[in-house]
C-alpha cells in the first residue's frame, strides 16, 4: 500500500471516530449552553409575570408555559428548576419541559408562579447540529487530503526518482550509483547509507569476480605443467608400466581439475553477466549444427534424430551460451538414450523441447540441473554439464520443465524473450 493511501485510510478511520466525538461534545456543550440560557429566560420571564400581577392584580394562565395561582400561606419556594413532561397543545403530544417555580407575596397574597419552556432534548439537538458538523468536517477533511497529496508528491518526488535509479542500477555497469540529493534529512540519510552500501557491494562484486578469475587463472599454469610432464613420461619407454599407471591417475585427475576450474570459471562468468553479446539466434540452426558435429556418435548408436520445426524460435541470447546449452542437452540425450533409440527436438515460437527415449523417469528431475548432482553413479559423468545448462537458463529466465511420457524424457525450455 502506498504511504499516501495509508495516511488517507488513517484519516478516514480516525476521522470518523473523531467526528463522532466532536459531534457528541458539541451537542453536550450546546445543550448545556441552551439550558443555561433557558433558565435565565425562565427567571426573567417570571419576573415579568410578577410585575404584571403587581400592576394588574392577575396574570392569565397559559399552560403549559405560564401558570400562577394563590397558594397556602405556609408555601415557601425560593425558586426551583425541575424537568417535567406535559401535554403540548401546539404539537399535540407529550413533551419534555423545564419548569421554574417559586412563591412570591404580591399584594398580600402568596402566589406560586410557574414558567415552563420546552426542553432541548439530546435527539433534537443531534438532528439539528449533525448535518452542519458533517458538512464542515467533510470540507476540512477533503481539504486536508488534497493538501497531504500535494505535499506528499512534492516530498516524495526525489525519493521516487531515486527508487527508479536504484531499480535500474546494476553492478555490471561501470558507472557508480548516483542519487538525487534531498533537502529532507531522513531521505538524505537513506541516500548516504545506500550509496555507502552500493559502493561496498560493488567493491565486493569486483573483488569476487577478480578472485575467481585469478584463482582459476593461477591454477592453469601449474596444471599445464603437471599434465605436460605426465604426457612426456607416457612416451618415455624407460618408465616401467606400473609407474605409467600411477602417472596416468595423476594426469587424469589434473585434467579433471582443469575441467572443473574451467567449468567454475564459466559458471562464474555467466553469473557475473560477462556473456552479454546478446542477439537473436535460430535454435533450429544450432540444433542442426550440433547434430552434424555429433553425427559419428549418432550413427554409431544408431539413434534416430528428428527436428520438428513448428515455427522458428529465435531467443535473444549470447551465441556462445546458447551453443553450450544446446550442445550439453544434446550430448546428455545421446549419452542416456539406449541404442537405436529416438531423440526428438521440437521448436515452437516461444519454447523448444528435447525428448529422448528412456525406460524409467528421472527420480529427482528438480535436482539434475544442480551443481555436481549425479543421477546415477556413472563413469565419465561430472554433473557439471547440466549445471551449466541450469545456470544459462537461470541467467536468461528460461524455465526448464521435465516430464516423462510414453517412455520419453522430455525437457522443455520456455523462452521469455522471443
Amino acid at each position: 500500500m502506498k504511504l499516501i493511501s495509508k495516511i488517507n485510510r488513517s484519516y478516514i478511520k480516525y476521522g470518523i471516530i473523531l467526528f463522532l466525538l466532536i459531534d457528541i461534545l458539541f451537542i453536550l456543550l450546546m445543550n448545556y449552553g441552551e439550558q443555561q440560557e433557558t433558565r435565565e429566560e425562565l427567571i426573567s420571564g417570571t419576573e415579568e409575570i410578577e410585575k404584571i400581577i403587581e400592576l394588574n392584580g392577575s396574570f392569565p394562565n397559559f399552560p403549559p408555559q405560564y401558570e400562577n395561582y394563590v397558594v397556602a400561606d405556609d408555601y415557601v419556594n425560593s425558586g426551583t428548576f425541575k424537568d417535567t413532561v406535559m401535554y403540548n397543545p401546539e404539537e399535540k403530544e407529550m413533551d419534555e419541559f423545564l419548569e421554574y417555580s417559586f412563591n412570591k407575596w404580591i399584594n398580600g397574597k402568596n402566589y406560586k408562579i410557574v414558567h415552563r419552556h420546552e426542553a432541548e432534548t439530546f435527539g433534537r439537538t443531534f438532528a439539528m447540529i449533525t448535518p452542519d458538523i458533517t458538512f464542515i468536517l467533510t470540507l476540512l477533511f477533503l481539504g486536508l487530503m488534497f493538501f497531504t497529496r500535494k505535499v506528499s508528491e512534492d516530498i516524495w518526488s526525489s525519493f521516487n526518482l531515486n527508487i527508479e535509479r536504484l531499480n535500474r542500477f546494476s553492478f555490471k555497469d561501470p558507472t557508480k550509483l548516483e542519487l538525487v540529493e534531498s533537502d529532507i534529512d531522513e531521505f538524505q540519510d537513506l541516500n548516504n547509507v545506500l550509496k555507502k552500501m552500493s559502493d561496498r557491494l560493488s567493491n565486493d562484486f569486483y573483488a569476487s569476480k577478480e578472485f575467481t578469475a585469478n584463482a582459476a587463472h593461477e591454477l592453469q599454469t601449474p596444471l599445464a605443467f603437471i599434465k605436460n610432464k605426465c604426457e612426456e613420461l607416457f612416451s618415455d619407454d624407460s618408465v616401467p608400466e606400473h609407474a605409467i599407471l600411477s602417472i596416468r591417475d595423476i594426469y587424469s585427475s589434473a585434467d579433471q581439475l582443469s575441467g572443473i576450474t574451467k567449468a567454475l570459471l564459466l559458471l562464474d562468468k555467466i553469473e557475473h553477466g560477462q556473456f552479454n553479446n546478446d542477439q537473436h539466434i535460430s535454435v533450429v540452426k544450432i540444433f542442426n549444427e550440433k547434430v552434424e558435429h555429433l553425427k559419428d556418435i549418432i550413427a554409431d548408436k544408431q539413434l534416430h534424430i528428428d527436428i520438428i520445426n513448428n515455427e522458428e524460435s529465435q531467443p535473444l541470447m549470447d551465441e556462445r551460451l546458447i551453443h553450450i546449452l544446446i550442445q550439453n542437452m544434446l550430448v546428455n540425450a545421446i549419452k542416456y538414450t539406449p541404442i537405436t533409440g529416438n531423440i526428438t527436438m521440437t521448436v515452437n515460437p516461444s519454447e523448444f523441447q528435447i525428448a529422448n527415449s528412456g525406460e524409467v523417469p528421472i527420480s529427482n528431475p528438480e535436482r539434475i540441473f544442480e551443481r555436481f548432482y549425479k543421477e546415477t553413479v556413472q563413469v565419465g559423468s561430472t554433473g557439471i554439464g547440466l549445471a551449466i545448462v541450469g545456470k544459462i537458463a537461470e541467467h536468461y529466465n528460461i524455465e526448464i520443465t521435465y516430464s516423462f511420457e510414453d517412455f520419453k524424457h522430455i525437457f522443455s525450455f520456455t523462452l521469455p524473450n522471443c
Partner: protein
C-alpha cells in the same frame, strides 16, 4: 634443417616442460621469460614460430604481437595463455596472432597447432602428410590409402591428422577429446564419446591398410605405431 621456436613464458617449470617436449619432437627451442629478452632474441634471429604467454612480468604479451609481425610477417604467433576471455582471443587475433591455446593444454595439441602454422606459412607447396601407405592432403582434406580415395568424416579426419603429426607418441583420451571437441570433457559431462570416434577410425584404417597402426596404450590412450 631443424626449425627453431621462440618460447616466451615466465613460469620456469612450464618453460622447461614445453622446451624439452619440443626438442624431443625435433625442434630447436629458445626460451626466455620476459618481453625485453624475447625482443632481443627476435631481433637477432628469424623464428618461424613464437609461443607467447600473455601475462609476463614486464608487460602484456598482446602488445608484443604487432612488433613481431612488423619485423617478420611470416612468423607464426601462437598465444599460450591461461586467460580464456573471448576479448583476449579477439584482441590477440586482431593484433596478428595466428592461434590461441588456452592453458592447460596437451603438448600433443601444441604440436598439432605448431605444425598447422608451419604448414600455413609454407605457401605454394602442397600440404601433404605421408605415413606409409596413408597420404593425407590437407589442402583438399582428403585421405588416400594405397592410391585409393577413402572417405573420412570431419572428426575422423581431424583425429587421423592429429595421430600423423604426433606419431609414436601416446595420445591420451583426454587430449583426443579436447582436440576433437575443442573442450575439456568435464564441461560436456562426457568422456566416452572419444571411444566411438577411436573405434571408427581404427576400424577404417585397419580395413583399408590391413594393419592395426593405432595401438591402445595401457588402456588409457592411443599411439600411432610406426615401427611395423
Amino acid at each position: 634443417m631443424k626449425r627453431t621456436i621462440l618460447l616466451i613464458e615466465d613460469d620456469k617449470n612450464l618453460q622447461k616442460a614445453i622446451s624439452s617436449y619440443l626438442i624431443n619432437s625435433g625442434y630447436e627451442c629458445d626460451c626466455t621469460d620476459s618481453l625485453i629478452k624475447g625482443r632481443a632474441l627476435f631481433e637477432k634471429y628469424n623464428y618461424p614460430i613464437v609461443l607467447l604467454d600473455l601475462n609476463l612480468p614486464d608487460g602484456d604479451g598482446l602488445e608484443y604481437i604487432p612488433y613481431i609481425k612488423s619485423l617478420w610477417e611470416e612468423t607464426g604467433v601462437l598465444i599460450i595463455s591461461a586467460r580464456d576471455k573471448l576479448e583476449d582471443r579477439i584482441d590477440g587475433l586482431n593484433l596478428g596472432a595466428d592461434d590461441f591455446l588456452v592453458k592447460p593444454f596437451h603438448l600433443s595439441e601444441l604440436n598439432a597447432r605448431i605444425q598447422a602454422l608451419l604448414r600455413r606459412y609454407n605457401i605454394g607447396k602442397k600440404d601433404i602428410i605421408q605415413f606409409n601407405e596413408i597420404e593425407l592432403d590437407n589442402t583438399s582434406q582428403t585421405v588416400t590409402i594405397n592410391g585409393e580415395l577413402v572417405s573420412f568424416s570431419r572428426k575422423e579426419y581431424d583425429l587421423l591428422l592429429y595421430f600423423l603429426i604426433n606419431k609414436g607418441r601416446v595420445l591420451t583420451k583426454e587430449s583426443l577429446f579436447e582436440h576433437v571437441w575443442g573442450e575439456n570433457s568435464v564441461l560436456m559431462n562426457n568422456s566416452d564419446f572419444i571411444y566411438t570416434h577411436m573405434n571408427r577410425l581404427r576400424k577404417k584404417v585397419k580395413k583399408h591398410t590391413g594393419k592395426d597402426y593405432i595401438k591402445t596404450v595401457y588402456g588409457f590412450g592411443y599411439k600411432l605405431d610406426y615401427t611395423n
